[in-house]
Symmetry: C2
Subunit: 415 residues, 2 copies
């Protein structure tokens, strides 16, 4: 079954905004057993929209169109598609009421222009927008084809798709015999190493139809197991058990889990507190941890000790240590971690020092050199890495290594 996604918006073709809809929608579809065969982006231009939709309907049974449903003059998707399908538009009283109450709840007058969003092609199923005004629209074409229009703003599109559109797709295009899929998330191990770990233990299940996939991004590897047809759930369940048994120590979560979420959840469960001492990551570790709701129960404080003086003053690193070993050294990171833990009274203190670049490398300590220290009641453990990347990737990879060091410590101390 062919599925095509059409993203409308002149700002996409001028490169003013990043198209995040494609990845998000493709991912949700794939994880529910539906593979997108093509994605197209076009301007807010009537002819271009109609041409793209016409071609997509020729090839695909499911066509999803995003954007152009709002109240401004360049929002023409609804009209152009109705015209293409030979439908008249009518005003839907339910949508008028929804738009009106949307503004009433926000204590704002309803702009007259917004009423146009209640114009609905004859025969279209109206999907109420719980996070905005423009509804989603589901239409049929030819023999069982389905065309779905979704509003452009991600905070409207995403919940609408997950809660209301996916059930429609599943009902209209049932998967014969079922589908199951799990994605495991890992860090600290390369793609080929993960492949080697799993290939043999999963070999028999792959022979029985298991689809095993790896996706490596810098600092992370996803392992995806999926199956179709009868017994899919059982096959994926067995695969999951094997993945957890063989590679469990590298897995921090599944699906959309983030490493920082896993770390914060583990620390909350343990009732433990954390302090940070960041040099080269410059606050990025603190940023990631505080992106997790509930982090205030865990993070006591962080110190971004970018200058040598601040390492002395805020963390109590000794001047001799800096003079003898340099700011980027194992000796310094040990004193940073120990100082942060002792001065804050936190259970754990994570310290990072390194050379982010693009300048500052030497023969002995090349660009990308990183020392990470973790202070616990039992002492300070350290890790030494060379992360030769651009500045932002360097920060990300270094933070992954630091968070993973902490996660392994907590998991290890429990097991």
């Amino acid at each position: 079954m062919n599925i095509e996604i059409i993203n409308t918006g002149s700002e996409l073709l001028l490169g003013r905004v990043l198209n995040t809809h494609q990845q998000w929608l493709c991912r949700r579809l794939a994880d529910n057993g539906y593979e997108t065969t093509r994605q197209v982006a076009i301007s807010d231009n009537g002819e271009a929209i109609q041409a793209a939709v016409r071609e997509a309907m020729d090839r695909a049974r499911l066509v999803i169109v995003t954007g152009g449903l709002g109240p401004t003059s360049d929002d023409i998707t609804r009209d152009k598609i109705a015209e293409l399908l030979g439908c008249e538009l009518h005003e839907d009283p339910g949508v008028v009421e929804h738009v009106r109450s949307f503004f009433t709840r926000r204590k704002r007058p309803m702009p007259a222009s917004t009423r146009i969003q209640a114009m609905v092609p004859d025969g279209a199923e109206v999907i109420v927008n719980d996070h905005g005004t423009a509804p989603g629209l589901v239409m049929s074409f030819r023999d069982g084809g389905c065309l779905i229009m979704l509003p452009g703003p991600p905070r409207e599109l995403r919940p609408m798709f997950a809660e209301k559109i996916l059930p429609v797709i599943k009902e209209r295009f049932p998967l014969g015999g079922g589908f199951a899929c799990v994605t495991f998330k890992s860090t600290g191990v390369g793609e080929s190493q993960m492949e080697e770990l799993l290939q043999e233990p999963l070999g028999e299940l792959v022979g029985r139809g298991l689809d095993l996939g790896f996706c490596a991004r810098t600092g992370e590897v996803d392992v995806r197991v999926a199956a179709r047809g009868e017994g899919a759930a059982e096959l994926v369940g067995q695969a999951g058990e094997i993945v957890r048994r063989v590679a469990g120590r590298h897995l921090y979560g599944a699906e959309d889990d983030q490493l920082e979420e896993a770390v914060v959840a583990l620390m909350i469960k343990k009732g433990a507190t954390l302090a940070l001492a960041e040099s080269c990551t410059g606050g990025y570790l603190g940023h990631r941890i505080t992106n997790v709701s509930g982090a205030s129960a865990v993070l006591m404080c962080g110190m971004i000790t970018y200058s040598n003086e601040s390492k002395l003053r805020l963390l109590g690193v000794r001047a001799e240590t800096l003079a003898e070993h340099g700011a980027v050294s194992e000796a310094t990171v040990i004193e940073m971690a120990r100082g942060a833990r002792e001065r804050t009274g936190a259970d754990y203190a994570l310290a990072v020092t390194g050379i982010a670049g693009p300048t500052g490398g030497t023969e002995a300590k090349p660009l990308g050199t990183v020392f990470i220290g973790l202070a616990t009641a039992g002492g300070v453990g350290t890790v030494h890495r060379i992360n030769s990347f651009d500045r932002e990737t360097f920060k990300f990879v270094t933070a992954q290594q630091a968070l993973e060091l902490l996660r392994q410590e907590i998991v290890g101390s429990e097991g």
Copy 2:
């Protein structure tokens, strides 16, 4: 002139990676006077690639294909396009030598599989890859049509396109009479306010053919002025003068400038130092500032004072202030900023406290409440905002406001 971009990669259609090529390429093309008319993403599937390229060549004079030029078995773009165009492949000795020396420089053996990247369709122009092994390829079709293949990794594609492909496009498709374009970047002012400021002063130039566009993202508004034909550069130059005169105080830069880059550059020029005291932004301000190469000359240290205790201990906020006004208050942010400045000896100290959500709001201090304080030799200035967004957008918008407060202070003290 129609331009189409085709992004190949099964991982795109499975939603495992975000397609950043589209925005990046569309932006570069648009800023050089070339508007992309369609972008398509397809899997690493021979038929799908050939169908997409065939259709694009029917519509467009310039077709850019990304991905699938590497050494693994799913890298089939080069072969499939050569087949479609009826070309044989031959091994290019220059590319073999390039691949060999790429591995020699890295002191690694050259894997046999990588030699396939030297296979080049007959008649193709070879574009050497300065940051990887697979070359770019420029081919001709029909009457002056041009098909360009680019390697998929962004750190290879971007410099190759900017340095080597754009000149080819400009030579093959000269713009009649010229093209000029400038994008100004602003913060602290809404899209409609910016439109109101500029509409009238630029009215006459718009009448003479100036293309005036606004692009609003949360916390930022871009102003783009462009013109085509003879006198384009002069028209855009005049427009730029007017934009700077009328809206100059809101502009922090142009093209790809970031607000944090502007702030660090201003501080380096002034020889001034900075300290940070972050509560709700949790290190994100420090992260942004340390993303700028050279930030170590400016940033002395940052304190992520997430807990009340750390506000007392690290910054010297008084317990009575916290008890009487709360951690999220103007009184507290004043003491945070003053404490950070006095304790570090920095010229400027920027402090932030607020309620990021999703929990913790009250009637008097709703979710999104933020107080920002800037301590200077002259005292502490504050800003109070309600940033009602999800957690990450909240952090971004709050950091924009804090950086802009600092930028305005420095610019103001100079003027």
